[in-house]
Symmetry: C2
Subunit: 208 residues, 2 copies
Amino acid sequence: MARPKQALLTRERIVAAAGTLVDAEGLEALSVRRLAAELGVQGPSLYNHFPTKADIVDAVADAVVEQVDLSVFGEKPWPEALRSWAQDYHGVLTEHPNIVPVLAQGPGRRPAGLAMAEAVFGALVDAGWPPARATHIGALMRYLVTGSALGSFALGFDIDPDLYDRYPHLHNAPRLAAHHQAVDEGAFNLGLDLLINGLLAQFEGTRR
Amino acid sequence: MARPKQALLTRERIVAAAGTLVDAEGLEALSVRRLAAELGVQGPSLYNHFPTKADIVDAVADAVVEQVDLSVFGEKPWPEALRSWAQDYHGVLTEHPNIVPVLAQGPGRRPAGLAMAEAVFGALVDAGWPPARATHIGALMRYLVTGSALGSFALGFDIDPDLYDRYPHLHNAPRLAAHHQAVDEGAFNLGLDLLINGLLAQFEGTRR
DNA sequence: AAGTAAAACTTACGCCGCTAGTTTAATCAT
DNA sequence: ATGATTAAACTAGCGGCGTAAGTTTTACTT
């Protein structure tokens, strides 16, 4: 086949197929040949639409970030906005955990990533936080959200019970797997509460 | 060469060389052939000492975790111990950032990882925290430490100034790179303060 | 109508993790 | 002491990887 009458590929179709593949089978399963096969095409054809595989992965990551709702930042005071955004971000990443390692590297040049940083940082600065402090808060939020999404804490322990003979306090670790959602959510929400309440106290302390 | 009089390889030598390579050039640079070359040997020879490459990577990760000081947990009250441990853990990861993606997946079956979990969880439970809450706190600490070590926040932004024309609040983002250590440290310490102070308040609240 | 650009293709290079089978030395059992 | 087994290196090779190069055909531009 040479150039077809109707193009077989578009950037959108490629990103969608790549996202589906990553969600279903993980980042390691995303190879150029495999992705091309899903699209009914030979591997190198993808290079007519993206310069490198990394650009495809980046586009997948940004498509996920695009799903995060940023509208709260114009509508609510910073503490509620921050909480609401962090929960939504966390929820989106929970649905697409396999792409999180990419997001954890920062926004780079990705438009949705930069737009999100702009919204968060802008809201904090506009609310009266000093820019340096707002940067810290933004960083901290990324640490919590990506740290929690990067790998389930509860599923991070091997489930072989014999493994824990020498770690007496951990004897229930294999049982964590059964409740991993509740454990991970509990930890994330605890962290979010502590951070936002603490920040609020600091903020009001400097105001008065 | 067949079997030499003195074995060329040991697990320790392999892990040390792999760790050096990962530290110097990143996880992607660690290939079986490359590592073998560093050790003056052919690639498949490594399989006489480790069943898979993943086991080598795991051993590198555990060697890093082994460096974290756990002695504080027997010596100080839980808030100081938690802070001191988290700072030490954070410091160790700062020196070996390339292995963090592995640690972020949890301890799995790695002995030093499990010993660390045992120490943290045990100290919290022994101090009076309910086990479920202690689990949340342990998870939260991992989120913060690995989240912050996984990728510098300050270096996560592209330094091309033109990129920020459409993100007015971020116009100073390219300057973050110059102070990335201070920014990242500031965010981590802010988070640690907020979490531990908040936990302390909760703990004393339930005691009274 | 001619010229150019786009989008598919095939081929190929140098990497990758790992398996299989071979050789030789060291160690263990009788 | 010797014979058998195990250990630790080797070579050869499989299937997969990202991607560069060059080819063909179609579509768009002038």
